[in-house]
Symmetry: C2
Subunit: 384 residues, 2 copies
Amino acid sequence: MPPIKKYLFTPGPAPVPPEVLLEMARPIIHHRTPEFSAALDQARKRMQPLMGTRQEVILLAASGSGAMEAAVTNLLRPGEHAIFVDGGKFGERWGRILSAHGMIGHQIKVEWGRAVRPEQIEDALHANPDARAVFLQASETSTCAVHPVPQIAELTRGRDVMLVVDGITSVGVFEQKMDDWGIDALVTGSQKALMLPPGLAMVALSDRALARAKEVKTPRFYFDLLRELRLQRDDHTTAWTPAVSLVFGLNKSLGMIHAEGLPQVFARHQLMAEAARAAAPALGLKLIAPDNPAPGVTGILTPAGLDGGRVVRHMRDALGVSVQGGQDQMKGKLVRIGHMGYVSPFDMLVAVSALEMALREAGYRDFESGAGLVAVQRRIERGA
Amino acid sequence: MPPIKKYLFTPGPAPVPPEVLLEMARPIIHHRTPEFSAALDQARKRMQPLMGTRQEVILLAASGSGAMEAAVTNLLRPGEHAIFVDGGKFGERWGRILSAHGMIGHQIKVEWGRAVRPEQIEDALHANPDARAVFLQASETSTCAVHPVPQIAELTRGRDVMLVVDGITSVGVFEQKMDDWGIDALVTGSQKALMLPPGLAMVALSDRALARAKEVKTPRFYFDLLRELRLQRDDHTTAWTPAVSLVFGLNKSLGMIHAEGLPQVFARHQLMAEAARAAAPALGLKLIAPDNPAPGVTGILTPAGLDGGRVVRHMRDALGVSVQGGQDQMKGKLVRIGHMGYVSPFDMLVAVSALEMALREAGYRDFESGAGLVAVQRRIERGA
């Protein structure tokens, strides 16, 4: 029987602070009220620094995939060309959304765990001069790797090519400078660093993306970003019934984030990531993304021949510690430890301790018990 | 200053029981787990009797408008013809969704507060033999009126014409016999009789609608109902990250609904509606929909020359009792009292008492103070 206390270290949903859970448990109110409008305005405003933008942040009652689709249908016409970076499951999703809406997606295939190189983007832009946009992840959750968004933005911002970034596991985790870098559409979701349950997504658009959205008439209704923008900015309300309790929760969690201070929040994520990573060599294991590891999720490859799924299941079912395994081609080969949002560096002790025990249980014993733990502690001691 | 205790009698969001608020305040868990799958399965199963169907109920992380759009893009091709009943703001929305996706919508315009007559549907079917579907509301929230869905289903079920019903303020309020009547797509949302915050929508499709969805390739991604159906039914999971806490909340609220008993729930709604309606003549006022009033929301016309918006604002701001005014052409002319879900007949005393006080404050005094209240009580006394 797993212990009564459970730990959630999946790369989303991430833990929700009790303060936020209780805020969302407040009696529901109607959404066409000054009280809701005030919370909506404040939450949208409080989102801006996390996205590095002065543009309006648009909230949607949907999960992040809905916001990804919104970016596609509001910025491209059927038949138009776009480049997408497929370095994992979420990059692949850009391609699927583009196909679903009749756009022509040109895939840049990147080995799982690697970053796309800016030269690859440049080559693709030369090979596809009709491409109107580049789609990628700031942080590819399935491979625990980051892509070099600022360098890619240097390539797109001088061209008539929009840069669309999935920031679902980067916004609130590490610095995003949407305006300074020149991102045209940045999307994210509630259930990661924003410390909320899933069900709310956010999108911000650059001026040129807004101009583009006005021209593009690709069929869309629920995800019509211009209508949402107009209503959220001018009328302090939403086009469709908003996820009222999630908006209140968001306002609360963003208050907590700003009270901690964004630089501190980013440093904490970096520290947690480095602590988790430190465990891998101490256990004789390798990272999936050693050169460009994500600050929000750490991927440790399980030993060859071992059933990684068993490790993950034992951690969850016997020890009460939820992490995630690999998806698709990495199934059974990877343990992904999420450390986004309401997580402390000390939590990495728990994650690594459970990992050690589960590895042993699965038959891997090429490490001294506690070796990973010690590595974690030493990294924490050095501080952010 | 409004009193500390507030009452929510808007036609959605409707009040959420404390038991459900606390269920949703449970620590978040990951959605790819047996625990979440069990809740998802149970909630979907528990939805079926409310929709009167043995078909699979599909959950979506969206508000009801998203589910309305899903019904359109999964069942019709661009360029195809459809008939929609525009008897209010939500009927009009069907037309807007059809246009947004390039379908040709044939409007049946119905005076606000009236029901569409089955002959009008029959005439429209004759006039538009290419129409592939009829879209309407079971209960048009903006006009507090119900449409005769069973009679309309008699017209569509023998033809190659699908019947798509917005059940957002009917599912869980009064009996819906999707299978027996022959509804092809029934959509609803979480924030009304289901006693939840907004952010979750449900759709069920008939066998012929499913067959149609397989043929129709209209662009869709987030709202791809066949993918959701396959994953929810076969894999006990969702395509995109689900609104985890809302799904747990739904399972809880449906447990409460079935504990009360569906026939009792429907009778309670009917009693609340009749009690609220009884107040109108007692106050010298008229109902907007006297012939076909909705069991979930009662619309009382404010006296000519009086600012109905002031009545609604005074109820909310000074008395702490939220109801809703009219939309569009009924702005300033209507008070809508919602009585869906977590509401008791006694609550109608509160709603009508506040209405009486606000009418007086706005200058209408053609009734004896308490006359509406007495009418409410007498109707409650007679029982369901």
